[in-house]
Every structure is written in C-alpha cells, then in structure tokens.
Symmetry: C2
Subunit: 188 residues, 2 copies
DNA sequence: AATCGAATGTGACATAAATCACAATTACAA
DNA sequence: TTGTAATTGTGATTTATGTCACATTCGATT
C-alpha cells in the first residue's frame, strides 16, 4: 500500500528510495467504515488525509441544521478542514465517510517536519495547494456563471461515477439546490 | 517603496537585509492607470501581481458577453489568472484596474527561481497559497449557505470600503446577482 | 418472501431573483 | 456651463427554485 503513496507523490515530484524511506513514517495508514467521522465539528483538527480508496464528504452544518457539501474527496484527493488544520483550531466542518475508506493520515506536526526537512515535499505541498486553490476558484466561477441545470450537467460530465456512488440529497447539497430541484433537473 | 514589499513578506517570514537584497530584483515595480489591463483574456500569463495600492478586478467574460467578477484585489493582495500562470497557458480571465494601481510584478520564471533558491520564499508562497485556498472555500460556503441578501450583508461587513470604491454593477457581479437585485437588497 | 425505513419522484404552491422598461441621478468631457 | 454617457433606482412581469405534502421505489434485514 505504501506504493500508492509513493506513486501519488511521484506523480508530481520524483523521489529516491532513500527519500521515500524517510518520508513514509510521517504518514499513518488508516481504515474507516461507512459513516465514520475523520473530523467532527468542534474537535481540534490535527490531521489531513490522502484518500487511497473510498469516498468522503466535507460537510458544513448551518445554524438551521442543514447540511452543505463543500466537497467530495475521492481516491488521490487530499482533504481536511484546512482552515482549522493550518491554524490548529477547532473544526467548523465535518469529514465523514460515504463509503468504507482507506487513507494516509498526516499530522500537522509531521506536515511541518516534512516541509522543513524535505524541500521536495514542500514543493509537493505547494503544488497541491496551488491546484486546490484553482479548483476552488473554478467552483466559484461555476456558481457565478452557471444555472443549477448547467452545474448539474458539468458535474455529471466531470464525475459521472459520483452519480452511482452518492445519494441525490448529497449531490443536491453539493450543487447548492434542493433535492427536489435536482430530481427535476435530472429529468430534463 | 521596496519597504512595502519587505513588510509584506516579513508579515509572514522574517528576512535578513542580505536576503531581501537578493530577493528584491526578482520583482518589478509597475504603475497602471484606471481601466488598464494587467492581463487580457487570451494572452499568455507570465506574471502575478502584488497590489501595493489601488484596486483590481479579476473578471471572467462568459459566452453571452456577461462579466463575472471572481475577485477584487486590494492593497496587499496577490492576484493573477493563477490557473494560466502556473501552467503557463493563455488567460481565461482578465485582470483590470478599477483605480490607478501600483503593483510588484513577479514573472513565473522568477517565481520558480525564488522558490528554488530561497526556502523562506517557498514557505511564503506555500502559506499564501494555503490562505488563498481557504478564502476561496469560504466563498463557496457562502454561496451554498447564504441568500443573496446575506452575502450582501457579509460583504458590506467585511469590506465596507469596497462600497465606496466600486460601482454597484461590479459588486452585483461579484455577489452573483443582477444589479437590480443588488439595488433592492441595499434598500431593505 | 415480507416488512420497514430510507431515498427518490412529483404535484401544488410560495418565494426569490432575473429580466425588461424607463426614469432619475451622477460624472465627466467638450 | 452644457450636453452626453454611464450609473443607479424602481415598477411590472416572467422564470427559476424552494417548500410542503404525499406517493413510489429501492434496499437492507429478518
């Protein structure tokens, strides 16, 4: 399984065997079951996660008790409540399994160590952060420029598998529409 | 004016005089007039910008010719079409002056040099990217959880000055509502 | 196979926001 | 100073989406 982590990193930054050997112990390999929480709102956020297999949802619960999906995290995605992670505060969001999920977990402490001791890893985190930033900006753009129907079509086109793996209610929440509206969009 | 750049960097990462002396020449100091473009859609994006004074808008023009404001860039903000900048492609967005604006400009080449030669600068860029990512995610969250009126109130509270500096049409476009709706929100 | 609960679809209606049209105001250049 | 264009406000109407209610389907468990 370590090979998956190595392949993931080397997809951006080539590593020597020796380097990977030093890097690996900073991560911990963990398995979770469907509905388990990796992060619960209000807790201190000490880890971020690389999804090896399975599916997570990053959720914000508003004052009215409504759930809002900020993102789904699939294989090869990094996820956490990054705002809380980087500032070492309590989570405003929850990270929960939609399916049984396998992850590599990285504590903030080890994140700092890796960044400080391995320029390549700092480079890796920088590139990941840049692409995360760009992905978020694209999502903002789709809210600004697209109707609910268009956002639905974009999502269906970009992640067709998601529609088999995720209940409609969650897809609706991710798209920012009610589940009834989503149901009507899908029959148009 | 270089002191402004130094103060901006040192706000995150302390530098020695010698370090700053080496870093400074990687930036170029530039002045633009109201309505000037720093980036035009379709051009190669070779620079990102730190705003020293003035105000920029990052704009996406959709197929119907409608403008959408992805962000405003004020003093102390970094802005570019980062998607195009990091991948060295053509701009999908434009970056234009709302007011006369003074910036430090950083070419992608120099960005790479700085990152490679100064671990502190790589750290600086990493932290900036992280906070940019988080800011974008918060904006997504406000689209998911808040009505137009609530987004209006949030913006007014967070950046009250913006309402004196920016035409309503642009504020509306940033909030993702029509200018008529914005006008009605502001009188409620 | 039968049963229960969760997920989904759909009709009726309410509400929010877009659009269109035009008036009023402001900013700016000749 | 005047005239022109850009900006803003507001009414009337249309459209998109939310909300509520209920029926249907699907899936897991016994």
């Amino acid at each position: 399984m370590k090979e998956k982590l190595r392949a993931h990193i080397e997809n951006l930054i080539p590593l020597t065997d020796a380097e990977f050997l030093h890097i690996l112990p900073h991560f911990s390999f963990e398995k979770y079951n469907k509905n388990d929480f990796l992060i619960q709102e209000g807790e201190h956020v000490t880890n971020c996660y690389l999804v090896v297999s399975g599916l997570l949802k990053l959720v914000y619960d508003d004052k009215n008790g409504k759930q809002h999906i900020i993102s789904f995290a699939m294989e090869d995605w990094w996820e956490s409540d990054f705002s809380a992670y980087f500032s070492q505060k309590r989570a405003k969001m929850s990270l929960q399994c939609i399916e049984n999920t396998v992850v590599f977990s990285l504590s903030f402490e080890n994140y700092k160590k890796l960044s400080a001791e391995f320029p390549k890893m700092k480079q890796f985190f920088l590139e990941k952060s840049n692409s995360g930033h760009i992905a978020s900006q694209n999502r903002i753009l789709s809210f600004l420029t697209s109707s609910a129907k268009e956002r639905y079509d974009q999502l269906l086109k970009q992640y067709p598998l998601l529609f088999q793996r995720v209940p409609r209610t969650l897809l609706a929440s991710y798209l920012g529409v009610s589940r009834e509206t989503l149901s009507r969009l899908s029959s148009q």
